[in-house]
């Protein structure tokens, strides 16, 4: 197969590309330029699109003996991932930009361009497994290394795009094994720190980034019965379940800690209250993507709402409200679920489907 290996400049994508080469594929490395101001030199674990990272990606391609190019997808990235990130926060929701990047950049812009140029698949360093059953049906599974599993951020691509995705690290036992393999292969990135932050928020200060891009918009912090208990500098900077960073003038009547329960963008209001008010048992999702047929009847599953969150037992069915809507019931309840988060549904290790959280209920 002709394989387009996305090389971020990190250790995972380099080893993934190396494994694709070993498997006998005709591999070409591409580094995606995603940032519009690439002159900023970020160091260490931050980000994945600095000039330094592009250089690391180039060196990895040299070591693997594969061609290497940089493709400028920064405009698409800004229009989709960054714009969505800002619009979602502005709408009082909590987006996951990595999900949007996989949806719109890696497995759309990059994949479509690659296919048009004659490639059969895109290979990335994600930790997830693709299994093909006896009928040739492809399924997305959790990685062997549960701690590194990234099926949560990949589920959004859906079955058609999965057919052109290749994740050679899905069977890696641990990240340390991958680092050892990188060192053995002579890849200089073997000891490079992992990246955890949002790549386009250079210093990791999401609130500062939002303030810079969206401006200061002071408003009230109220409790559940509408009493003003403090002020904020922009409701968009708050996330359901958040406790820290609430500068509340008046202590709660019961003296207990208060959490963000809701962000109301229309009135620029942040609603706070006690922890137990955060627990929800029902979710609605929109823009659902199914790897199976959408279940008309309740189907038992494991529900995950955060990239590194623990899956909890629940059940799911397609909702009557819209063709791409679904509803989820959580058997034990979950705390602090914000609209905009991704909810991914599993049957064991297999991904059933994915949706964006629209609302929740106790």
């Amino acid at each position: 197969m002709r394989v387009l290996a996305a090389l971020s400049g990190g250790v995972d994508s380099a080893v993934a590309a190396a494994r694709a080469v070993d498997a006998g594929h005709d591999v070409v490395g591409v580094h995606m330029a995603l940032s519009r101001n690439r002159d900023q030199m970020r160091t260490g674990s931050r980000g994945c699109c600095s000039i330094e990272d592009a250089g690391d990606a180039r060196r990895a391609a040299d070591v693997l003996g594969i061609p290497y190019y940089v493709w400028d997808l920064s405009e698409r990235f800004e229009q989709t991932v960054v714009a969505d990130f800002l619009a979602e926060y502005e709408a009082g929701r909590t987006p996951n930009p990595c999900v949007r990047c996989n949806e719109h950049i890696k497995f759309e812009a990059l994949l479509d361009k690659g296919v048009a140029l004659g490639f059969d698949a895109v290979c990335t360093g994600h930790y997830a497994r693709v299994e093909i059953d006896d009928d040739g049906v492809r399924a997305l599974h959790r990685a062997r290394d549960a701690a590194k599993d990234q099926s949560y951020v990949l589920a959004v691509m859906g079955p058609e795009r999965l057919a052109r995705a290749m994740f050679p690290l899905g069977d890696a036992a641990t990240k340390d094994d991958v680092r050892r393999e990188a060192a053995a292969r002579g890849l200089s990135v073997s000891a490079k720190p992992d990246s955890y932050d949002i790549c386009f928020v250079a210093d990791g200060d999401t609130q500062g980034f939002l303030r810079e891009r969206l401006g200061s918009r002071p408003g009230d912090v109220v409790d559940a019965d509408g009493t003003v208990v403090g002020r904020h500098d922009g409701a968009y900077a708050y996330t359901v379940g958040q406790r820290r960073g609430l500068a509340l003038g008046r202590p709660a009547a019961d003296g207990r800690a208060r959490y963000v329960l809701e962000v109301q963008p229309a009135t620029n209001t942040v609603v706070v209250g006690a922890a137990e008010l955060l627990t929800v048992h029902r979710l609605t999702g929109e823009r659902a993507v199914w790897f199976d047929d959408a279940p008309r009847a309740w189907r038992e599953c494991a529900v995950q709402v955060r990239a590194h969150g623990t899956p909890v037992p629940g059940r799911v069915r397609a909702a009557s409200t819209g063709a791409q809507d679904l509803e989820v019931e959580l058997h034990e309840g979950l705390r602090g679920i914000a609209p905009g988060q991704s909810v991914v549904l599993y049957d064991g290790t297999r991904v059933l489907g994915q949706a964006t959280v629209a609302g929740s209920g106790r």
Partner: protein, 424 residues
């Protein structure tokens, strides 16, 4: 009749198939404007000098021997350019020569006349000229006039005259910098006219001739520019050496301070072997210039005609082939052609052609491997989307008809595929 047509058609198809199967695994280096292979005589001269030890500034016999190589090379470089040996300042390359000219002249002019702080620079200059000018604006209160070009990317002399005469609060003109010919489109600039207009008003002129030397007649007896930048590796010499030819009497402040080499204007140990390679390559290029220019023109015409036939909507940028430039001279460099391919992304074309063995470029500067929309094409009036579909093929000493035919065989498919991939 019908049978004959089918037979004729299949003969064409067979021939094309033969070309493309021959093309498999074939390579064509068509990026001579980026860098061109070393001339054998340059290689020989360098190999000889690299085995010797001696700092040209040393006072002993070994130093004198190295100094002799440098000075003989300087004389040969000067002779090839119609300059005096004392006017040739050796630099690390074209970029340093351009920086030395722009900053060195601007500083010297400012020192003599505090009002002289307006830099008149063509909008299509190489970044090695534009960026030092912009740096002087940002850091030292200079002002910059980017002189407009026409649709072919050729400087409008009327615009220069107006800029020189503008009674401007931004200060008096400090220098004019216009390149001899453009490295992206190959458009030759009216440098004699530029020098005439500027000198009438007592303003010094810098000309970046990095891309022109070797294929155009770059003769300082003919064009009395005050400073001219040249680079060795564009004419078959080594990477890492160039020169600023600075006429006597031109006040120039140094950029690199140190041991006081090169008239105190450019410090740094003189590279004897590189200088010998530079001189040998430049001499060889100048000696064969006219015949080589005609040969490259012929190849380039074959290329342009071929592209016109196979990709009819490609737009050749710069002056049309065969057009006359200033004083009836050529309007374009003989070996450079740049097209825009509507609906294509330069990224895609470079990848597809590289895969097919064709080494070429978008022509524009890169930032960490990303081709930026060419400021040359934007200044010539193209939109950003058009500019993103640019592809430059540049020919040189080792180019052959087979190279041209190879790119013509693979280009239509590359363009069709790139078009499908679209502007991502």
């Amino acid at each position: 009749m019908a049978g004959a047509a089918v037979r004729a058609g299949s003969a064409v198809l067979r021939r094309l198939a033969a070309v493309s199967s021959l093309g498999a695994g074939r390579e064509a280096y068509l990026d001579h404007a980026a860098t061109t292979p070393m001339h054998p005589l340059a290689l020989e001269a360098m190999a000889r000098e690299l085995t010797r030890t001696g700092n040209p500034s040393s006072l002993h016999a070994a130093g004198r021997a190295a100094r002799r190589v440098v000075e003989e090379s300087r004389e040969r470089i000067a002779a090839a350019l119609g300059a005096d040996p004392g006017e040739v300042l050796l630099t690390s390359g074209g970029t340093e020569a351009d920086n030395l000219a722009v900053k060195g002249i601007a500083w010297a002019r400012r020192r003599a006349d505090p009002a002289a702080r307006r830099l008149l620079v063509s909008a299509v200059e190489h970044h090695a000229v534009l960026d030092p000018a912009r740096w002087l604006v940002e850091h030292e209160g200079a002002s910059l006039v980017e002189l407009p070009v026409d649709r072919d990317g050729v400087l409008a002399l009327g615009g220069l005259a107006r800029a020189l005469d503008a009674d401007d609060a931004e200060g008096a003109p400090a220098l004019v910098s216009v390149m001899w010919a453009n490295n992206e489109t190959g458009a030759v600039q009216p440098v004699r006219g530029v020098v005439g207009l500027a000198h009438e008003r007592g303003v010094p002129v810098h000309v970046d001739a990095v891309q022109s030397v070797g294929t155009l007649r770059v003769d300082l007896q003919q064009v009395a520019a005050d400073a001219v930048s040249v680079s060795a590796h564009k004419v078959g010499g080594p990477v890492g050496i160039g020169a600023l030819v600075a006429r006597r009497g031109l006040a120039l402040e140094p950029v690199l301070h140190g041991g006081g080499h090169e008239r105190g204007v450019r410090s740094g140990t003189l590279p004897a072997a590189a200088a010998a390679g530079f001189a040998a390559a430049l001499e060889a290029a100048v000696a064969s210039r006219e015949a080589e220019a005609r040969r490259l023109e012929g190849l380039c015409e074959r290329l342009v005609e071929g592209v016109r036939a196979t990709v009819p909507d490609a737009v050749l940028q710069g002056p049309r082939i065969g057009a006359a430039g200033e004083d009836g001279g050529p309007a374009r460099l003989p070996g450079i052609a740049l097209w825009t391919f509507p609906g294509c992304d330069g990224d895609s074309l470079i990848y597809l052609l590289d895969t097919a063995g064709v080494r070429c470029s978008t022509g524009a500067a890169c930032t960490a491997g990303v081709a930026q929309p060419s400021h040359v094409l934007l200044a010539s009036g193209l939109g950003e989307e058009q500019a993103r579909g640019a592809l430059r093929l540049s020919l040189g000493r080792t180019s052959t008809e087979a190279d041209v035919d190879h790119v013509l065989a693979v280009l239509p498919d590359a363009v069709a595929r790139a078009r499908r991939a679209g502007l991502a």
